[in-house]
């Protein structure tokens, strides 16, 4: 039992629940929607859910001169409308958020990145995370409030809000609640994401991967591995053309095509790496040639004019080539690249979904959820 008196956050007396909600608005503690008032009783229950003392430091954010304690996470989780049993997943999410590889500071960038949160493993069922129809839409408490907790926490504890240290040109709609998904835990021969990340099936993992808002791609009704991948790869090639780790989210019917054809994730990735390319002519037409990288000065006068032969010269999203310096930052040596295939979403329709990784710095981080 966590002692209530151990809470060290400043507290305020309010006359009613309505008054408490209004106070949260007035003090800038919300995301623009009402929050659940963080009372002592509720906070203590959440700390018990985490099995952590209030002062326990879950992570640090040196860029903001902040630490994230269990108490602050619990308060924000209460406010988000979460449940105490979500706390172990939230603790893992904060560990990922504060991992140096994630490079927290990028969240303030013009591009308005925000992390997709992928929960994979037994906790998906235990917590009731939606992994099926409408997986990225509102309506499921676990998805919505786990994602919202992270957003409130970044606002309230790390200045990640309007008027704080936040320069996103447009902002990210996913910050409201729908960037937390569970991976489909049904066993049908698919290698789960947590296993791909190096953990056993019984260990739930949380992966954070900073992205721009998602793109839905009409995939096709011809259910053959190469055709599905060609549709996804073609869409990615025509996108921002960023090099990094791409999450590709496919429904179970598409995943089953690969399982039946005995395609492993590794083979799927190899196919996309080999085939996902774009012509120099197309890159020039989109102003994406030679001018958007840190080393652009070295090229001298770079033209965007399409020259003879540019249609048959290519740059690959993942596969390296001699033309890379004209498109990608060659100084970004600590940048991971790859593909995470994740199964989520409904059985119907003809669309798959992928997200563009944030353009600079940041890497995906996966943490195990520890039993408390």
């Amino acid at each position: 039992m966590t002692e209530a008196r151990a809470l060290t956050s400043e507290s305020f007396e309010v006359g009613s629940t309505y008054e408490a909600i209004e106070m949260c608005f007035d003090r800038g503690w919300t995301d623009g929607l009402p929050v659940v008032p963080p009372t002592e009783r509720a906070i203590v229950r959440f700390l018990e859910g985490a099995g952590l003392a209030p002062e326990h430091v879950i992570g640090t954010i040196p860029e903001r001169d902040r630490v994230i304690t269990a108490e602050k996470l619990a308060i924000n989780a209460v406010m988000a409308g979460a449940r105490p049993e979500y706390m172990p997943v939230l603790v893992a999410a904060v560990e990922a958020l504060t991992d140096p590889a994630f490079q927290f500071n990028h969240l303030a960038s013009f591009g308005s990145p925000w992390p997709l949160m992928i929960v994979a493993g037994p906790a998906v069922r235990e917590l009731g995370l939606n992994y099926g129809t409408w997986a990225m839409g509102p309506g499921c408490r676990a998805n919505a409030t786990i994602g919202r907790t992270l957003s409130l926490l970044v606002s309230n504890c790390a200045l990640g809000h309007l008027g704080g240290i936040q320069r996103g040109t447009y902002g990210h709609p996913g910050r409201f609640n729908s960037m937390c998904i569970g991976e489909n835990p049904e066993e049908f021969g698919w290698q789960p994401h947590n296993v791909e990340m190096g953990f056993d099936r019984e260990t739930t993992t949380v992966t954070l991967l900073s992205t721009y808002p998602w793109i839905q791609q009409p995939t096709c009704v011809q259910m053959e591995p190469e055709r599905i991948l060609a549709a996804i790869g073609g869409s990615i090639a025509e996108g921002d053309f960023v090099r990094g780790v791409y999450p590709i989210i496919i429904g179970r019917p598409w995943a089953e095509v690969f399982v039946r054809a005995r395609w492993t994730k590794e083979r799927m990735a190899e196919w996309l790496i080999e085939h996902t390319r774009r012509s120099v002519a197309s890159l020039k037409a989109r102003g994406r040639w030679g001018v958007l990288t840190s080393q652009f000065e070295a090229f001298g006068a770079v033209t965007q004019e399409v020259l003879t032969g540019d249609e048959s010269k290519y740059v690959w999203v993942w596969k390296e080539s001699d033309l890379d310096p004209y498109v990608f930052d060659i100084a970004a040596t600590q940048r991971k690249k790859g593909i995470y295939f994740v199964v989520a979403g409904g059985d119907g329709g003809t669309r798959t979904c992928w997200l563009t990784p944030y353009q600079f710095s940041t890497n995906p981080v996966t943490k195990p959820v520890r039993a408390r």
Binding site: E10, F12, V14, W29, T60, K72, I75, S294, A332, R335
Partner: protein
């Protein structure tokens, strides 16, 4: 009647604070940190020209980050501090 708890966190060390703006740029030493975005050098040099028309400035350093996505190398901070700049002009581009 109930109590609600503050969800915010304050600074831990208090060492990370916004630099105080200089009272005047007249005769100031100015360092420039360009974050590496394309064309930032043009913007920054134009700003220096405009400032130079109004103040007698001395530019002590004009540094470009090797990669936009990473924090500037410690060596840059050391150089700026060693140059005894009164202020640092930090800029972008595109």
């Amino acid at each position: 009647m109930e109590r609600i708890f503050d969800p915010t966190s304050g600074p831990v060390t208090g060492k990370l604070i916004m630099a105080r703006r200089p009272d005047t740029l007249a005769g100031a030493k100015l360092a420039v940190l360009w974050n590496g975005r394309p064309h930032g050098d043009k913007i920054l040099r134009r700003v220096l020209d405009l400032l130079g028309e109004r103040h007698h400035l001395q530019v002590t350093e004009f540094l470009k980050k090797p990669y936009i996505g990473n924090v500037a190398p410690k060596e840059y901070f050391d150089r700026i501090l060693a140059s005894q700049a009164n202020a640092v002009l930090v800029g972008i581009g595109d």
